[in-house]
Amino acid sequence: MLIFSVFKTLTDQTVTVELKNDLSITGVLKSVDQFLNIRLDNITVSDAARHPHMMAVKNCFIRGSVVRYVSLPAEHVDTQLLEDATRREAANQVKR
């Protein structure tokens, strides 16, 4: 749930999503849901010469389960806050 919230704060930022089939897609994060499915607008595929499959695709929906990495704009992530929040959540889970 915490990561879901983080993604929600990042809507309208440009992110790069690397999929588990080695496709990397850069685009503007439009929305995200509880499965971490991602909607991207204005996408470009890195290494477009090797992957022309998405040439005519301008926006897309990515299933959360196939995402390997999401690279975020560092200036829009409060790392300190995230660190504290994740530790708090981890501590809560131990208690339960």
């Binding site: 089939n21 849901d33 909607r39 090797r50 301008k58 929906f61």
Partner: protein
Amino acid sequence: MSSLQGYVDRRVTLILQDGRVIVGLLAGFDQKSNVVLSDSKERVYSTDEGVEEIPLGLYLVKGDMMCVFNSFSHARESNPRCSTLIGELDEEIDQATDLSTIRAEPLPPIRY
């Protein structure tokens, strides 16, 4: 909720877990991101010839771990396939593209 609503009745590209690419008209979907494509075609990419389009007809693609069902009883195989990515096709760009000139390696399958 990041839903597929905006894609209904649009021509979409679907990339499946096994790397296949299917284009078709998105007829419907549900919360598990199962989707129904009408008038769908598979696009087979290869490095030594142009893109081959195989008509598939009406396709139901499971969102998660299950199979693809289609309206043809002679489905070529019944491997589990599921969707990984759905994108809206820009019709203009798509129509301007001569598929027979495109050479590309097929997409690799998803590896967990």
